[in-house]
């Protein structure tokens, strides 16, 4: 499937949760399949931290750049683009094409840098709602996402209850734990204490806080894998024939983390990383309801599919069961899958027949 990225420009100001106002913004997105005449077959796919609107397929002339959820979305895939019109949407604050910290601040003519506002999951969804209007979609057949994308799928059902028929919430949490926030804070500290960070105004200086980004990514990566998966993949295997008795790369896992960190630091923006982790930290739909998630979900009207993975310790199955309990308290239509997968949080990106067959069946039951 050859796909093309698009960008939609919105000139009406967007008021953000923080009170700040984005005077104008762009959202990068891709679409797959055709919107039907009744406009009833649209599915919005929301991405997680290290992904983009490039959900599926490849770009012309760039066969190696495969979409991050290509095993889930496409012709004949569980989310079948022969039947559904699928939109992969980026979010504001990103570094993959939507307006973000590296974009030009219209007030100054220079990159926003540190002045780009802190955005929230609610802000992302509000911006995506404008994109939906632009594309002529009054109501999504489904909004779907994993991890941070799942928070958007949840928030869609809360911000726009009448505009979502199904909310598909995978590897999710209704709010970050103190431990989750702690990991994010370590990552942010790594970035902000990098001498090349310059308080977020590093674009003008022609430098990138590469060291901070590397460490942030290494920390993140540890939380995406289960202990077992890491042991299985790397064990205590040495990179060199024997121990070096120095601080070079001894173990395979060290090499892997360094490689992941290096790669990430070449394409990801540090200011974006700070904002995405903060958006994760802030997300808590129950906060306005005295911490009562059941009350928060009282306004939801969608049907829900909630999926968790047993080895995910970042957003554990217990967190997903909190969501299920809140939906049951509100008598929502909900099914819950707890997939006994060993890979950890990243299992949501992998092809597991139990997981994919269930998604395929669920989408098959969505009447168009």
């Amino acid at each position: 499937m050859i796909v093309t990225a698009h960008r939609a420009r919105f000139t009406e100001p967007l008021r953000l949760s923080s009170g700040a106002v984005l005077p104008e913004f762009e959202i990068a997105y891709e679409t797959y399949g055709e919107l039907n005449a009744a406009r009833s077959n649209a599915v919005l796919v929301c991405h997680a931290l290290n992904a983009s609107h490039h959900v599926a397929g490849t770009y012309a002339g760039d066969p190696d750049n495969v979409g991050w959820w290509d095993n889930m979305v496409g012709p004949g895939k569980p989310l079948d683009t022969e039947r559904f019109f699928v939109i992969g949407s980026n979010y504001i604050g990103s570094c993959f094409g939507s307006t973000g910290p590296a974009s030009t601040n219209p007030a100054t003519g220079r990159p926003w840098g540190a002045d780009f506002p802190v955005v929230t999951v609610e802000d992302w969804v509000a911006a995506q709602a404008r994109l939906a209007e632009r594309l002529g979609i009054e109501r999504f057949a489904a909004v779907m996402g994993g991890s941070l994308g799942a928070m958007q799928a949840l928030q869609w059902a809360l911000s726009y209850p009448e505009r979502v028929r199904n909310s598909i919430v995978i590897a999710a949490t209704p709010r970050l734990s103190a431990q989750n926030i702690a990991f994010n804070e370590v990552a942010r500290q790594a970035i902000m204490t990098d001498p090349d960070f310059h308080g977020g105004h590093y674009y003008d200086r022609g430098v990138v806080p590469v060291r901070g980004l590397r460490i942030a990514r290494m920390i993140g990566h540890i939380t995406y894998l289960s202990d077992d998966a890491m042991m299985e993949k790397f064990g205590r295997q040495l990179r060199r024939s024997e121990r070096g008795f120095d601080f070079g790369v001894d173990f395979e896992i060290e090499s892997y983390l360094r490689y992941q960190g290096d790669k990430f630091s070449t394409y990801f923006d540090a200011n974006t990383y700070l904002r995405i982790t903060k958006a994760l930290d802030y997300y808590d739909p129950a906060a306005d309801f005295g911490g009562d998630l059941s009350k928060a979900f009282a306004r939801a009207r969608a049907d829900f599919l909630v999926v968790s993975f047993t080895s995910d310790w970042r957003f554990s199955s217990a967190r997903s069961r909190e969501i299920v309990r809140a939906l049951l308290d509100n008598r929502r239509v909900v099914s819950y899958l707890e997939i006994d997968a060993p890979q950890g949080h990243d299992a949501f990106l992998l092809e597991d027949p139990r997981y994919h067959d269930a998604l395929r069946a669920y989408f098959g039951n969505i009447a168009l």
Binding site: S40, S335, L337, A358, A361, N365, I366
Partner: protein
């Protein structure tokens, strides 16, 4: 009369149903089709969970041994445990949980006091194997067999009232010597604390629903 027909007869029109160990959801699907009774199934086996989704039945993949913490007190009209009791480790706990979340419970199980089972043990000297109990002793998921007498004693101990009992053999109702001649027992039970009305008022139906209402678990 089949087990399914008996259960369907005991479920009131529009009742909110929770089916524990729901298999591929065929009972819930039937209750929706015949009684417009919305509900959820609880199931642990991956293949059954997939079957439920294919059958367009709400299913929650959870372990019954962990209890019913996902469900609020008295949030169902009826909680069903069909031919699953004998495979549960903590039976007392689960039965209590059933009548915590439901006003009534329907429980069915293969009767270990059935004469064919008795003969296999008493005369042939081996563990019973039959249509209702198809497993060998070494590969059975069943851990706690009981007879009608045993189950009724447990209900007494738990303070449950038996509202109705149906005993079946080969699809026929058994009325004489049920503990000897009955292969499958079905009970409809409640506890005095379970007779309160539902505490959560039903919601208004959706106005813009496009989807099949089948999966809508509203009372």
């Amino acid at each position: 009369m089949t087990e399914l027909e008996t259960i369907a007869r005991w479920v009131a029109q529009g009742a909110r149903v929770l089916d524990l160990g729901c298999g591929d959801g065929r009972l819930l699907r039937r209750l929706w089709q015949t009684k417009q009774a919305p509900g959820y199934g609880v199931e642990i086996a991956d293949a059954h969970v997939l079957g439920c989704i294919r059958n367009d039945v709400n299913v929650l993949q959870m372990d019954l041994e962990d209890g019913l913490a996902a469900f609020a007190d008295k949030s169902f009209d009826v909680v069903i445990l069909s031919e699953t009791l004998q495979a549960i480790h903590r039976q007392e706990y689960l039965l209590r949980e059933m009548l915590r979340v439901g006003r009534e419970a329907i429980v069915s199980f293969p009767n270990f006091g059935y004469w064919r089972a008795r003969i296999q043990i008493a005369i042939a000297g081996h563990m019973p194997v039959s249509k209702e109990l198809p497993y060998q002793w070494y590969d059975t998921p069943n851990v706690h067999h009981c007879t009608l007498v045993d189950f009724e004693a447990l209900c007494g101990k738990l303070g449950f009232s038996i509202l109705e009992r149906v005993v079946l053999t080969e699809g026929a109702t058994v009325s004489t010597l049920p503990n000897l001649l009955g292969a499958l027992a079905l009970y409809r039970v409640t506890s005095p604390a379970s007779t309160n009305p539902l505490t959560v008022p039903p919601q208004a139906p959706h106005q813009h629903r496009q989807q099949d209402q089948r999966r809508q678990p509203q009372g």
